[in-house]
């Protein structure tokens, strides 16, 4: 689905890898390594300074930017909901493309396990966990084929984080989504990921299967990171 060839964007230096359809990839590494920078390159929230990115075997710049962003959904660490009701947030994306259908609302809330009565709730009255569920549902409303997740549970308490994680696991399986998730939680990485990309000092240090990578790191850098 995505191919990165020698991509640079400070602090990333010449990163090369490929993401295939339905891959479940965990992106991890120390703070400031370039994880968010890398994530933002997938839906062109920023562009690389060097190298090339291919989406569906075509240069990413050739794709219409708004359609690309619709297909490659992003969930950030904070929910960043728009002022208004849950419904306002859910229909925001589809309404941009004139694709909103009122019947979708119930389905979306079902996905993230929130009752239908939440539709008319003002978002500032929701708990942190509920807000993050709405944020996830808002991204799903666009029916993306890939989800970019930037530490979506790190601001939540353990129990709520686990609940969101369960929702994510089920959704990704049911919708056969491709996933790229940034997390600092290695237990979560084991639970949700098949493959890992370890980034440190702006370089892709390791790319491999998740349990093996974490159990037997090939590089000194990953070994040290896991020790910390």
């Amino acid at each position: 689905m995505f191919r990165f060839e020698n991509v640079s964007q400070s602090p990333l230096q010449g990163v090369t890898f490929e993401i295939k359809d339905q891959d479940k990839v965990i992106l991890f590494g120390p703070s400031g390594a370039g994880k968010s920078t890398l994530l933002f390159l997938f839906n062109r929230l920023s562009d690389p300074e060097g190298g090339h990115i291919y989406y569906k075997d075509e240069r990413i710049e050739k794709h219409d930017i708004t359609s690309l962003r619709k297909n490659v959904g992003l969930v950030l660490q904070s929910p960043n909901l728009f002022p208004g009701t849950v419904l306002d947030n859910l229909k925001y994306g589809p309404a941009l493309f004139d694709e909103w259908n009122e019947n979708e609302a119930r389905k979306l809330l079902d996905y993230v396990q929130l009752p239908i009565s939440f539709l008319d709730r003002e978002v500032d009255q929701l708990s942190g966990g509920e807000q993050q569920r709405v944020s996830l549902a808002r991204t799903l409303a666009n029916q993306p084929e890939m989800l970019l997740l930037d530490e979506p549970t790190s601001a939540l308490d353990n129990r709520t984080a686990e609940e969101i994680e369960e929702v994510l696991e089920r959704l990704i399986k049911e919708h056969q989504l491709t996933m790229l998730m940034v997390t600092h939680d290695m237990k979560q990485a084991r639970r949700l990921g098949d493959r890992g990309l370890f980034i440190s000092d702006g370089k892709l240090q390791e790319d491999g299967k998740i349990p093996e990578m974490l159990d037997q790191p090939d590089t000194e850098a990953l070994y040290k990171f896991l020790e910390e």
């Binding site: 964007q9 968010s36 062109r44 950030l76 002022p83």
Partner: protein, 261 residues
């Protein structure tokens, strides 16, 4: 009341300066120098502008008015741009905004015979319109910058859902305009109840019939109301696009988020 204040009477104004000076001394505020300097500077500035105005009022209207309005526009432009000097094209945007406001207000005044084309009427009234518009533009620029910073996450969320810059920044434009217009709405609401507006007070003290003074005050208050709205709207709508690049990306957003993670 006599419309004339004698120079001796003016001298007693020093009492009004001594009060804050004494306060500063007793409470060790360290502001004595500032108080003295600002009082002196204000006095000199006012007398200077008094003499300049006397000279301008004697000039033919077709020369004096464009000259003074032009100077006011230039000074106001440079002052307002300070609030957003890091943004591209802020100088021409502010200048044309102020020019459009001034020309449209002047057109209304003259067409409907609210104000005579005389330096003594047009210059002070234009000064009030340009001054208030300048403040509104500066505040809008400042507010817009802080809203963009505060709402970085929401903007990224909107863009990532497929919003174009105009759609993504709708909330920010709305908040900026709201903030710029609210003080004006409040001012108009309480006009004459909480305080008698400056121009009206001046005219009444100058011996003008209060009803006539109110008419002038209405002209200037509503002109300012309208110009402040146009200024805020113009600068906000013209400038929000420079927070994005041509690829519908927030300028510097990724780096900011990275440095926070």
């Amino acid at each position: 009341m006599s419309p004339e204040i004698s120079n001796q009477s003016l001298l007693f104004l020093i009492v009004f300066v001594v009060v804050p000076l004494t306060l500063s001394y007793f409470y060790q505020l360290g502001m004595s120098r500032d108080i003295l300097w600002s009082s002196l500077r204000g006095t000199v500035q006012l007398f200077a502008i008094g003499y300049i105005l006397t000279y301008l009022f004697d000039l033919p209207a077709s020369f004096g008015i464009p000259l003074m309005v032009g100077i006011m526009l230039i000074i106001a432009t440079f002052h307002a741009r300070q609030k957003g000097k890091e943004l591209p094209y802020v100088l021409p945007v502010v200048f044309f905004g102020l020019l459009i406001v001034e020309v449209s207000v002047l057109f209304m005044w003259l067409t409907f015979d609210m104000v005579q084309f005389r330096p003594s009427e047009v210059i002070p009234m234009s000064g009030m319109v340009i001054g208030n518009s300048m403040v509104a533009m500066g505040l809008s620029l400042e507010r817009m910058k802080s809203e963009f910073k505060q709402n970085n996450g929401r903007l990224l969320a909107a863009l990532s859902l497929g919003a174009k810059p105009k759609q993504a920044s709708h909330l920010i434009v709305q908040k900026t305009l709201h903030a710029a217009l609210i003080p004006n709405v409040d001012r108009i609401k309480t006009i004459g109840l909480v305080q008698l507006p400056g121009m009206m007070t001046g005219l009444i003290l100058g011996g003008v019939d209060p009803v006539m003074a109110i008419k002038y005050q209405l002209v200037i208050s509503l002109s300012i109301f309208s110009s402040v709205s146009i200024s805020a709207m113009f600068v906000t709508i013209a400038m929000y696009r420079y927070f994005f690049n041509q690829n519908k990306q927030l300028v510097e957003s990724a780096e900011e988020i990275e440095s926070q993670s």
